[in-house]
Amino acid sequence: MTQTVAQSAEEISDGAPQVQRDGAMRQSRQGPSFLMALPAVLFFGIFALIPLLGVLVLSFMSWDGLGSPEFIGLDNWVRMFERDQTMSSLWLTFVFVVICFVFQAPVALLLGVFMAGAQRYRALLSVLFFLPLLFSSVAVGITFQQLFSPNYGISSALPFDWLPSQWLGNPDIALYVVVFVVGWCFVPFHSLLYQAGVRQIPVSLYEAATIDGAGRVRQFFSITLPQLRYTAITSSTLMLVGSLTYFDLVFVLTQGGPGSATRILPLDMYISGFRNYDMGGASVLAVILVAVGLTLSLLLNKISGSSKMESDKAGM
């Protein structure tokens, strides 16, 4: 590992003077030209910024999809904030994000560490773990809906009386059931990140630790975890922001029900806009979501100090 890194570094330093001699000294120091970012910037502008501005404008208008939108000032904002559903959806979203994270992060980490090893049948098991990543969320949703059916699902198939007969129809547990299914879908992706992360850790660290007499558990906490710091930050950011805006599986599984027990904010936005045809109100919710999502990722960036990120492998 360390050898390859050193080699490629040599290659780079060999090539660099050549470029400088060609008279592009300033550019090479500034990094790639802005032109290279142009496609991404254009794409982001057209498909993200412009619609975002549209939504912001629409949040000050009254529009039901027919006729032309009417400017009504802050009415939508006042109305949406006075609405009980908005607050309960915000709270549900918060709970959803937190338990999604608490459930997915440890499972993904452990699975990832396991898959990076060299045990027997590891490759076969890894393939099985990755399967959920390949399925469409609608197919997953419908399958789990069948599994949770009170009359034809697991509850009636298995001879355990303690299994609840209602899963998705019980307002007290529906959210947790949904979190489980969402986790089932996304854990493989995060395990993949962790697996790659673990593979980057130099074997020499473990060898040294073994010589020093550290056991497996100690090695995990003292080497693997600290070395996975940046992977954990990436994975957590994706997990938190992802579950904040998550929509499709919840929609297929419960449509926000029973009652409004699983009506998280993105779903509430969809229902307001495309079921109740209240485009103005839905835009308000969308703007709130964007604001919360941006704040969250900025905050994570700040806490994790990605600006101060430095190499873990200094001196190796």
Binding site: D64, G65, L66, G67, I142, Q145, Q146, F148, S149, P150, N151, Y152, S165, Q166, W167, L168, G169, N170, Q255, G257, P258, G259, S260, I271, F274, R275, N276, Y277, D278
Partner: protein, 449 residues
């Protein structure tokens, strides 16, 4: 409740059977259809699509028949051809509104009438087709066709099968419990008790999908107070939902839940997977209140039960002392075609020509009947008698023609912005979390808003 009858695969199997009989005919037709498709795509690629008429259709149920019909129309009328796009039900409902609102609507718009049609008319999105469809109107069953008529003018005409809601039952379970199929509310309550003693669920209810609960609420309201009871809601009366008949209907729904009439897990049963019908077929539940598509779906999914002679169907029980005629029906009268105002004059003419000359042609009607679906036409008795499903189609046909009133499903009849609130509050009523009075209060708050 805005579903298309999901009997597609059965239709396909029927077509396969028909195909064997008529293979001499179908082969050239298929060839022509393919040729016309090619012709179409060439046309579309050449630009000028704005001048060409188009139609959006759904998939599943009888929709393949509709698409086929467009293909043969295009073949016969190359000057007046349609481009046809098909959508899944929910996708269609989301797209059509923005398309209509932005002037991008297809020439022929599929609708369920009710509140949405009223909005279209109010904003001049659809044209008056009274004159063009006068001849067609004479052939239609009026209780169905009336849904497309607003203030005496025709804005929409039915274009597929009638979808009333019936009470389906499992005769074997009734025999086992020594019970009679209920014809009145009191009898229904007695039957519920008898089945409860036998540990059989008296009624399956797909509460997880919410809309099946509407069928109970709207039938009971109609039986108790007649069609007038719901009129206040439709007309935007601020207290419309507090009508005594609606309140009583909801009380009776709660009474049924309390009496153990429904499968106790009804909140988790899903109608999209036809779980409720399945419970009837495998003897877990004795009855289910569902749309007419349940019949063709049952033949497809559970042929053993459907052909066992135990699969029965009847109308919703009468309510003693109620003002509504027990012959009244609830459901979706049909899907309707409207003609878009934003289409070019030429396309509009193509569309009205199609409606007046082509809709419900013999082939179309035959295909619908062959798949167990009932077209809303007068004078079909002889044709129905010749079909394989004569018993069900004959029953449905008589009931539909004799119905003094055909109540459009509530979720379609009301203003579209109220639909979600209605389903949510009704669910809470069935779960016993709010009283009928609270339901009325919550729903009145959405009136005129």
């Amino acid at each position: 409740m805005a579903r298309t009858s999901p009997s597609c695969s059965r239709a396909a199997s029927r077509r396969r059977r028909l195909g064997r009989r008529r293979s001499a005919l179908t082969a050239p037709i298929a060839g022509l259809a393919a040729a016309s498709l090619l012709g179409l795509s060439a046309c579309g690629g050449g630009g000028g699509t704005s001048d060409q008429a188009n139609a959006w259709v759904l998939n599943g149920g009888v929709w393949p028949v509709v698409e086929q019909d467009f293909e043969s129309w295009n073949e016969e009328n190359p000057e007046q051809s349609f481009t046809v796009d098909s959508f899944a039900n929910d996708v269609y409902k989301e797209r059509i509104r923005t398309a209509v609102g932005s002037g991008e609507a297809p020439t022929l718009i599929v609708g369920w009438t009710g509140g949405t049609l009223l909005e279209y008319i109010e904003h001049d999105y659809v044209v008056d087709i009274t004159e063009e469809t006068a001849e067609l109107q004479d052939q239609l069953i009026s209780s169905v066709a009336d849904n497309g008529i607003v203030d005496g003018d025709v804005y929409a005409v039915p274009m597929n099968n009638v979808q009333p809601v019936f009470l389906y039952f499992n005769q074997e379970l009734f025999d086992q419990a020594g019970a009679e199929v209920p014809t009145t509310w009191e009898e229904l309550l007695d039957v519920v008790e008898q089945f409860d003693e036998q540990d059989i669920y008296p009624l399956a209810l797909a509460g997880g999908s919410r809309w099946p609960m509407l069928m109970w609420a709207s039938y009971l309201t109609d039986r108790i107070g007649g069609p007038e009871a719901f009129q206040g809601v439709v007309e935007g009366d601020p207290d419309g939902w507090s009508d005594p008949a609606i309140l009583e209907a909801l009380e009776r729904c709660q009474e049924l839940v309390d009496a153990g009439a429904f499968d106790p897990n009804f909140a988790s049963v899903d109608a999209d997977q036809n779980e409720d019908a399945r419970m009837l077929a495998d003897g877990q539940a004795a009855m289910v209140l569902q749309g007419s598509w349940t019949y063709s779906r049952m033949l497809e999914d559970h042929p053993d039960f459907a052909e066992s002679g135990d699969f029965g169907f009847t109308t919703f029980p009468a309510v003693e002392g109620g003002q509504g005629d027990p012959a009244n029906l609830v459901g979706n009268p049909a899907n309707f075609w409207s003609v878009s105002e934003s289409a070019s004059e030429e396309s509009q003419e193509t569309a009205t020509d199609y409606l007046s000359e082509r809709l419900f042609n013999d082939e179309y009607v035959d295909q619908m009947l062959a798949t167990g679906n009932l077209p809303p036409l007068e004078g079909l008795d002889e044709q129905i008698a010749e079909t394989e499903d004569e018993e069900f189609l004959g029953f449905a046909y008589d009931v539909v023609r004799e119905a003094p009133n055909f109540q459009l499903s509530w979720d379609q009849a009301i203003d579209p912005s109220q639909e979600q609130a209605l389903l949510e509050n009704l669910e809470l009523v069935f779960l016993g979390q709010i009283t009928p009075e609270e339901f009325a209060e919550n729903m009145n708050a959405t009136q005129g808003g």
